[in-house]
Symmetry: D2
Subunit: 371 residues, 4 copies
């Protein structure tokens, strides 16, 4: 039971290796009648595409997606949607050295121990290339959300690189598209560029924190107790390569607060309840509150670096390794569209679940507040 | 599709409300032949039991578990194990006020909006009492682990209360049992006692960070890509009430590291690979490495406090609320055995999954390292 | 992964052994707001209850159900509903002989081989008593259907005992309640009574065919390709003890028809499409057509008989066995309410699935036929 | 939640339409290290391939399979295996007439009602072409079985066409490969050829019964209560297009037997228990007994016939339809390899489940019989 699917109602199965002929995703459970074509998906893939500037891997992949099923005359039919991306720029010979050595910080040794066989070229299935399939599936989810819940806006950004954090006072979503780091703070972006250039030159890499926000999410999504919206988001984000921590709202810092500080006070707004703050990150008891859903996750530094590290080979002999190939010095950058895609998939999944269990139109809840 | 089950092979379904007649768990998929009786489960429930000292809720619940099925002549039969805990000390009238008002920071309003009906007594299903069922199920998982993988040791502790962290240099597992806070640092425990007394007197509460470690975990557990061991742990911990963040190994701090610092170097030890450090928290590529599996999670401060907070009622009228009842001033304390229970369930689940997909004895892997 | 749950959105987990303290079902995913109390469930259990006439087992079980969770002030809350039935009339000593011998036609040997341990008292989990939990869960499904899809009527009957079939020309639903066999044909009931009396006296037993019909089922239910309505019904019915065959509509006899005979012609009726016949049994392509959903299943004769049969014991020694205890001479009779319960669960499950994927009110479809 | 996956541990997701660019299956959970290449799968696809003789559809599809992932250097890696079959010989214009009319006996109207949109070309996803993906997945299952449980032999045959049954006394597996009907009885094959020629000329079609037997199945497979081996087989077979009934062992005829006749007596053989007969079809209590697992299913006659049938169109107007296109006059013939494939998938799934829950080598059970 290797588990390559996620989601319950909107179910995505990804497949394919970094250096195989192709990779992709089968999306099962997309509602029928959603307008969809390849361009609608390609748009998101292009954002994740490698080789767009000097801060990401120089592997050149067009990442062109083909829809092989599930769409007829421009609309989804409710049947499985097969998305295929052919691999183009594989330099598998770059990886001949790691056929026998295990890269520290990578999944090489773990896969070897578990399976006794692995496609070592580029990490095979453990490569970050798998996330292209997620972004493609996220494109389908976005198309469905646009139809079912057009009020939802999903946006991601990077809020920390190494020890350098953004200044929340300068947070501006408009800035995100203007720099290569998805930074909502122009000044932070400049500092990061400098920092990353230095790291890259020294053959090193660095970690990052990504934040994904969904606004316009209707109250009531989430399936307690073990399908809580935040638990599903935690699993979704933690399943992305190199992620080591996930936070909802106040996150780990919630530990530092008192009950008085933490509990978001409730007032009555025009369209329903209104909150004084959002420590909850839009989720209470595993159910969306109608506030922005806010998730952050930490991406560890790329383990493929040019600095020699101690390791072993298959025979158990100790040795050192320097990972050549073409790698992202800060893989967190390209994780932003992946985080957005996971958010889109999880929200759509819960919208469908909610509609199934509770009924009514999307965003409709059973309990009313008001006179 | 309210989702009250977790696990794939070792599947736990919890049921019951805080103030209903009983609550419990059905455990499906426990291997046959495991020695099990009520005492073996009660032992863990007693650790979580409320009212054991002045730092936890004064609700007096014996939390006595009954096994209603699945065990015959002292051994599991491979059929579902029903665990029932009768509720004893319900003072439901304490909650009459919150039948119409929504407690800020609680799931009250979210449940109301979603379902249009809720058992408001003590939070119903969103109450922390649900975690008693988890601990009971965890007791079954522990019994099975003792049989199948006796080398695994699962231990939890509290490493932070409010802004007060333990000193890692003083970390001592033996200390955990000696103070009411599960603190591995005696000095931190003293500081916490003082801090919590003050908070309690002022009618306030505080957050905490819990750390759960599993040592002796064989390499190879985990089912990439969407059943990664760390992703499953993230979901498991995030599904516990009041948890807002989950970290594996270096966690959020991984963002601050360089690739050189972060990647745990590999050497050859007696029994197999040996690592210079454990930033990975025992998981790479979603698969256990054989190092300690280390998870941390942040528990927000109890939202039920004696200080008045602004809120609304069902009619939408703004009002204030003071939550009486009997509450934990630091619910993180009692979350420690819950975190341990979730770790036990997730590990057992993955041991069974691994055995199914890969075969061989428990802990056996397919790939060998060595001459 | 012992699998004691069925359903996707309306998920039922049954637990408990024939001679343990209790058995029951946890129902997860029942929509909130459904009127429900114990009497509403008891009503169906009473129909299945043993010992009601000389043609069923003389075990005296009140089969009184208790609701332990998920219902508040007479309505479901959307949280798990725990249903418990305590076992009362266990004469476990009747089974001491079969602790070591395996009854032919029973699951005794198969359970022993698989698990290496079994609760031999009354067959443990493989006993037909497990179906009491199904009927209880079916009671919840019926209550939800009454609320969500009040037009659906589910009725079961017995259409064959041994070689004696009903005469379809005499089929009358009203007759079903008037005889102890659920026979829609009064004459057949008389013949069966005579036949069964003779068999019982000779210590033998006999098989039967049960037919369950659901009318008023909206078109559009079913989730191709592997959640087809008929495939789910087939699994549901085949999972009932002693069932060896399942048919939808024309069933096995479809093999004998030509295409011209088999295809139900379509005409236009008042409320939508109207069919000339119902060889399809209300399901085409795995999706309900709006016609009656018709399922039949064959129940093999009770294997516990008073006539000596050759068998072996645990040591492998050959021996003979005569099964005393109190058994149904025609277990098909009591399978009727079980088949109805499974139909109710499957239909509700698919209504919720359909509502999730397609949206709209229950019974609403996306495609219209008409001007 | 359109459900296009089946299996729990060995999980197959099929995708693709009859007249889209391609169709296929993603196989998740195949154990690592299994020798596999395209030829090993093609071999089974060739058996199901259309246009091989005058008794099957004249559509010419090479049905050439490509493995896009999950196999490295000739062995499975434990990661998802994507199998793609490109559609070649689509004459979509044959179907222009049925864009607006609904074929009786087909899923046309049901899909339209459910989804409000459908790929009408060749039935889209409801076409029997979907079964090519099953056969491909079955090829993977067979390769894994050959490795894990080499003693298992899966064979299918046709035992009835229309009212013409085989003579069991002439049953000969060797005959199956010698006639175009998979008939184990040469004389029956001759009668069927004559019968089918006549039907074809008259533009009519006919139903059939297929029987699939697995011998060498170890005792102990099956996961009670809702993952019973026979319940899973029932769902698997009923999910094949046009199947209306499924039988295990004695099947529907079990209703006609007495308990004395039906219960297979147990004796002690060389390798373990031995049975006097196999009314059980190799499954008791949902668990394999070690006897041959025997499943039969009825395939209704092809609904696409050249004889005019009454139907309606999208506007609700009554009309008649004659289905041209290229169709199998007895679709049961090509269902034989599909039934075999489903058997292979279900058995492998249960082998992996059993290994996970019970442990030990494949085929090993926990309970011993013997001195």
């Amino acid at each position: 039971m290797s588990i390559n699917s996620f989601g319950r109602m909107f179910r995505v199965t990804t497949w394919g290796e970094s250096h195989g002929p192709a990779l992709g995703a089968v999306v099962d459970g997309c509602p029928p009648g959603v307008p969809l074509d390849e361009a609608a998906i390609q748009r998101w893939l292009d954002q994740r595409k490698p080789g767009q500037n000097r801060f990401t891997t120089q592997r050149r992949e067009p990442d062109a997606v083909r829809i092989l099923s599930g769409v007829f005359e421009g609309r989804t039919t409710g049947t499985p949607i097969q998305l295929m991306i052919e691999n183009a720029d594989q330099r598998s010979k770059d990886y001949s050295e790691i056929a026998d050595k295990f890269r520290p910080g990578h999944a090489d040794l773990a896969y070897w121990q578990k399976y006794g066989i692995r496609d070592h070229r580029g990490g095979g299935r453990s490569s970050a290339r798998e996330t292209a399939a997620r972004v493609a599936a996220g494109g389908v989810a976005r198309a469905a959300l646009a139809e079912l819940a057009p009020g939802i806006v999903i946006r991601g950004c990077m809020v920390q690189m190494g020890k350098l954090r953004i200044d929340r006072a300068r947070f501006d979503w408009a800035e995100v598209a203007r720099n290569p780091f998805w930074s909502p703070d122009a000044e932070a972006a400049r500092a990061w560029a400098e920092h990353l250039d230095a790291l890259r030159k020294s053959g090193n890499s660095v970690g990052a924190v990504v934040e994904v926000t969904a606004s316009g999410v209707p109250a009531g999504l989430g399936a307690p107790i073990y399908g809580k919206l935040d638990a599903d988001l935690a699993a979704a984000m933690m399943s992305i390569n190199a992620v080591k921590g996930v936070e909802i709202g106040a996150g780990m810092a919630a530990a530092e607060l008192t009950g008085e500080e933490n509990a978001d006070e409730i007032f009555m707004g025009q369209g329903g309840p209104r909150y004084s703050s959002n420590h909850a990150g839009g989720v209470l008891g595993g159910i969306s509150t109608g506030q922005d859903v806010v998730v952050r996750f930490a991406v560890k530094p790329t383990s493929s670096i040019l600095r020699p590290r101690a390791t072993i080979d298959k025979t158990g002999a100790e040795t050192t390794i320097v990972t050549k190939g073409r790698h992202d010095p800060c893989v967190g950058i390209r994780a932003v569209p992946v985080g957005e895609a996971m958010m889109a998939c999880v929200l759509l999944d819960h919208i469908l679940l909610h509609r199934g269990q509770i009924g009514g139109a999307v965003g409709e809840t059973r309990g009313r507040v008001g006179p």
